[in-house]
């Protein structure tokens, strides 16, 4: 989906481009934090693009782990409220799996009644995506249809060709950036485009081994037939799978501070028993296994019903963080074989 002619940018020019952009926007990019890539505000440090996709998804810039919905101040018995406007941001280096996650969340937070804080951040954020030429060990984006090639949802799309990046625009904002900062770009030649296709085909082939595109019926059967009691016995209740998943979006709202304070929206997790426990103390999902089953059902049955897209994008992060050492994807690979 190349909407304009492809351009080429060298590694040095990319830094110059980001420097210029960071004059007007907060530029977020993968940088090294504790020896590993993490998305953070870029202040000119080396970009950590060669590393695997950061463990904390950049989706947190749209759905923060914790956000202040508004502040309340009581004065003479009357309340006044204030809220912060969304930040103008550019997220650089977002991978195709996280892009698809955002599309799924659009189908939830953007549908029917649009969620205002989410929509505000979505509108004020420019996305510069990066095609995945070297997928991580546990990734299975190809099976979930999210990668390794990004298909829409970005303003600019980069492909690492080694000596520099091939750049394509995917939106008016992207075209604007290419025009406004044209001196950093040069025309890409046909060899560059061939190289991109070769690299991405190679990346795709690497992933073929990692399982077929899941068949919804087979998945439903696999979920119905799984030994959830055993899975629950081994679950250490860290909630990591839900905290790290770029599609997981459940939250709880709490007011902190009396009489003045803040209404906070915080990430929540269906892996925790308190998530489904009712005020009476009754819990429809009392065992860890039942909660794990729900997590899978949400991703592979409920979210698809609502959005038409799977609630899993194949980023493999849940398996990376699982304290019970469960390879979440092997569950389906075995079931669908």
């Amino acid at each position: 989906m190349t909407s304009t002619t492809a351009l080429f940018i060298s590694r040095e020019d990319l830094i110059h481009l980001l420097e210029e952009l960071s004059g007007t926007l907060e530029v977020v990019a993968p940088v090294l934090v504790g020896d590993e890539a993490a998305f953070a505000t870029w202040r000119g440090e080396a970009l950590a693009l060669d590393d695997k996709n950061p463990l904390a998804s950049p989706v947190e810039f749209f759905l923060p782990k914790k956000e202040v919905l508004f502040r309340y101040v009581q004065y003479s018995g009357r309340y006044t409220f204030s809220e912060d406007p969304p930040k103008a941001r550019l997220i650089f280096g977002m991978r195709p799996c996280d892009l698809l996650a955002l599309k799924v969340i659009d189908g939830i937070f953007g549908a029917d009644l649009s969620d205002l804080p989410y929509a505000g951040r979505r509108r004020s954020t420019i996305i510069v995506a990066l095609n995945c030429t070297s997928p991580g060990e546990g990734c299975f984006c190809r099976s979930m249809g999210s990668g390794p090639v990004a298909e829409g949802g970005y303003d600019l799309l980069l492909t690492d060709l080694g000596r520099g990046y091939l750049v394509e625009a995917g939106s008016p904002a992207g075209v604007y950036i290419l025009r406004a900062h044209h001196r950093h770009f040069e025309e890409a030649d046909i060899e560059d485009i061939k190289e991109k296709e070769r690299l991405l085909a190679l990346a795709g082939e690497k992933m073929i081994k990692r399982g077929p595109f899941p068949n919804p019926e087979k998945i439903r059967e696999a979920i119905d037939g799984a030994d959830w009691e055993e899975a629950g016995r081994r679950c250490l209740a860290c909630g990591g799978c839900s905290f790290v998943c770029p599609v997981c979006h459940c939250f709880s709202v709490l007011d902190q501070g009396v009489p003045d304070g803040e209404r906070l929206r915080c990430r929540d997790s269906c892996i925790l028993s308190g998530f489904s426990r009712m005020t009476s103390g009754a819990n429809p999902r009392p065992d860890p296994g039942e909660r794990l089953r729900h997590w899978y059902l949400d991703k592979f049955v409920y979210i698809p019903e609502k959005t038409g897209l799977f609630g899993c994008v194949g980023c493999g992060r849940c398996s990376r963080v699982c304290l019970g050492e469960a390879d979440r994807w092997s569950f389906f690979r075995e079931a669908t074989e």
């Binding site: 977020v28 934090v33 504790g34 020896d35 590993e36 993490a38 998305f39 953070a40 505000t41 463990l55 904390a56 947190e60 810039f61 923060p64 782990k65 914790k66 956000e67 016995r233 081994r234 250490l236 209740a237 860290c238 909630g239 990591g240 905290f243 790290v244 709880s252 709490l254 902190q256 501070g257 009396v258 304070g261 915080c266 990430r267 929540d268 997790s269 925790l272 028993s273 308190g274 103390g281 990376r320 963080v321 699982c322 304290l323 019970g324 050492e325």
Partner: protein
């Protein structure tokens, strides 16, 4: 958004954490993928470690008691008042009428300066901290048996084990990252043996579960030795070359036959045989233990019995072997290392050793007291008796965490002066004359030392709220008010002083501490640190076997049940942080007493029934929860909850060597609250 790599504030695992900071506020936490322990994973408390930092309850200004009210004052006033009151008491009653409790939640630098404050400024060795209630028996027991009280091997070493004995450790809840490592080892083929009276998740997942009666650890450990010796599974070369005292141990073990052990512990001989065979036959075996082993009036004996087991089988000094006392707080190892103990300077240099004392006197430019100080629980007794009159408590909440709460209240109320430094108001700050607001882990620089002796950097991610300050600054201010030089521009400079006087930290500097930190001993700047202890020799030359007998456990017909206490996965210690983390508090919003269904039926109690639990020292009303996780005759209460403080019931029966109270076994009786 900034991301700052630091270390988790909760348990001793010492996981690498990345704090997410937006507009000067910590908004989230995620695991550090490159960190050697967390390896990109965290437990639920770790994932939520940032949530309490900006809670509105945070203490923001120094407070001074004016009658029944607490008044806001300046730092200068609060500190000068504290120094003046402490000096007055010292003049009237001598330096040993003062005491300091430091915090295992504080950094090494803070603990070092507070220990220095006690010794160099107040002039007393009355300094201790929560290690007294957790691993004092390890420091004492492993200290005399192996020459070092710390974990012998790094956590990762367990991945190479062929058998792992876990005892007195609810590992999946208390040290989840260690549990994950053990379960990974089990998946690779290691045999997992769990000894625990409760059927914890760890016990549930074990290959062999031994369920001894409370307080009978020495018996079954000696029983395993009996079988290991009988089957010729001891490591004779190791025993001959590297240990002494085995013949006496052999005689002792002979008496602990499987039948005798069954009478004492209730463990069927077949189970004990399976455990002994799995442990004895393993080329590499490790022993992991925690509070279930140490918090007994026979705590040191329990540790010595386990040390005998690893020594007799030659399981020391190699990858995959070793003894692993799991430390409960993220820096309880460091607080011990820094000399926040009444008998040691930093690096376990004895205060009674004239050479060590002269060295510290030269370094600190002052005279130092020669007599050992009081331990934590002894301090409380001395306070009640008026022998201790002034106290500084830094980041501890003895009102919830210490045994016999009734006595703790009397003790703290008896004090003429009490200053408490903390991040939140607690049941202990409520009794203070001066309250000092201090920085949380996310608001200060310094180092923590994890359970595996890994010294790691803690980084300031945000500024402290209001006027709160890092305790390094508070301690330095107080030192200066006692005319002790304390011109530290930064915590790095404090570490400079620590490394100059502490041989095991001799090569440590903040600059050297990368993502993997450094494991002590690290004696010189070019030393790579020591991950596995005792490889060629022991610090005491040869390791020693100690003959330890099972204590006689008297029955008390008035109190027919036994209460054991512990912590939940979702809370930490006295709950000051986790009970202000709403997802965690939601998981466990209230205290319950776990009762076996058979015991409950006899009492006419169902899940949800309010019951009264009574012991010789106190009573409390609490909701019952029926579960087969506890065996008949045993009940369990987590001690986090101020609404139903388990330590209202516990007693101060101390282990004679380490002075740890026997928190894990209190005789109690239970009745319905309405009858």
């Amino acid at each position: 958004m900034e991301k700052i790599a630091t270390i988790c504030v909760y348990c001793g695992c010492g996981c690498g954490l990345v704090l997410h900071v937006e507009d000067g506020r910590v908004v989230g936490a995620s695991p550090s993928p490159a960190h050697p322990v967390s390896r990109g994973r965290l437990c639920v408390k770790g994932w939520l470690a940032a949530d309490f930092v900006h809670h509105p309850d945070r203490l923001k200004t120094p407070l001074v008691r004016r009658g029944e009210r607490m008044a806001r004052v300046s730092w200068d006033e609060a500190l000068s008042l504290s120094a003046r009151r402490l000096r007055e008491i010292r003049e009237e009653s001598g330096p040993d009428s003062l005491a300091i409790l430091t915090s295992a939640k504080g950094t090494n630098e803070e603990n070092y300066l507070l220990a220095k404050l006690a010794r160099a400024a107040l002039g007393t060795n009355n300094v201790d901290h929560v290690a007294r209630l957790c691993h004092a028996p390890s420091v004492a027991g492993l200290g005399i048996a192996l020459g070092s009280g710390a974990m012998t091997n790094p956590i990762r070493s367990l991945l190479s084990s062929d058998a792992i004995l876990v005892t007195g450790s609810n590992t999946t809840e208390q040290h989840p990252l260690v549990a994950a490592t053990i379960l990974e080892a089990q998946a690779r083929g290691a045999t997992l043996i769990v000894a625990d009276p409760r059927r914890t998740q760890m016990a549930e997942l074990a290959d062999i579960h031994l369920a001894p009666r409370l307080g009978t650890d020495v018996a079954w450990t000696n029983g395993m030795l009996n079988l290991i010796i009988g089957r010729g599974l001891i490591d004779e070369d190791f025993i001959n070359e590297r240990t002494e005292g085995f013949s006496a141990l052999k005689e002792l073990a002979l008496r602990y036959t499987p039948a005798a052990v069954e009478r004492i512990t209730g463990i069927p001989p077949g189970d004990l045989e399976k455990a002994a065979a799995a442990f004895g036959e393993a080329p590499r075996a490790g022993v992991v233990y925690a509070m279930g082993t140490t918090q007994h009036s026979s705590g040191t004996d329990n540790v010595l019995a386990l040390a005998n087991l690893v020594l007799a089988t030659g399981n020391v000094g190699r990858d995959g072997t070793g003894i692993y006392p799991l430390r409960g707080h993220q820096n309880v190892q460091g607080a011990c290392d820094m000399g926040a103990l009444p008998i040691f300077y930093s690096g376990y240099q004895k205060v009674e050793d004239p050479a060590a004392r002269r060295k510290m006197e030269a370094a600190w430019g002052t005279d130092l007291p020669a007599t050992p100080g009081l331990t934590a629980v002894e301090m409380m007794e001395a306070a009640e008796e008026g022998r201790i009159r002034g106290m500084i408590i830094s980041g501890e909440n003895p009102m919830i965490s210490y045994p016999d709460r009734g006595q703790v209240i009397r003790a703290l109320r008896s004090l003429d002066f009490l200053a408490v430094a903390d991040i939140f108001p607690t049941e202990t700050t409520a009794l203070a004359d001066v309250v000092l607001p201090v920085a949380s882990f996310a608001e200060k620089d310094g180092t923590f030392t994890s359970t595996e002796r890994r010294i790691q950097r803690v980084r300031r991610a945000v500024t402290p709220p209001g006027e709160a300050r890092p305790e390094v600054e508070v301690a330095a201010e107080l030192l200066r008010r006692f005319s002790v030089t304390a011109d530290y521009a930064s915590p790095e400079e404090v570490m400079g002083e620590i490394s100059s006087v502490t041989p095991s930290y001799g090569g440590v500097s903040s600059r050297r501490l990368g993502i993997s930190g450094l494991s002590w001993p690290c004696p010189s700047p070019d030393h790579p640190g020591t991950e596995i202890l005792h490889q060629g020799s022991f610090p005491i030359g040869r390791a020693r076997f100690y003959v330890v007998e099972q204590q006689h456990l008297p029955e008390d017909l008035d109190y027919p049940l036994f209460l054991t206490t512990g912590r939940s996965l979702f809370h930490f210690h006295t709950g000051t942080m986790t009970r202000r983390t709403h997802l965690l508090d939601r998981e466990r919003p209230k205290a319950t007493v776990d009762i076996n269904p058979a015991d409950a039926a006899a009492l006419g109690v169902r899940s949800g029934t309010m019951v009264v639990v009574e012991s010789a020292t106190g009573s409390l009303e609490i909701e019952a929860r029926l579960t087969a996780e506890v065996p008949m005759g045993t009940v369990y209460i987590p001690f986090h909850f101020a609404e139903a403080p388990a330590n209202q019931l516990t007693t101060r029966t101390l282990d004679p060597t380490s002075k740890i109270p026997g928190l894990k076994r209190t005789p109690v009786r239970i009745r319905r609250a309405d009858g």
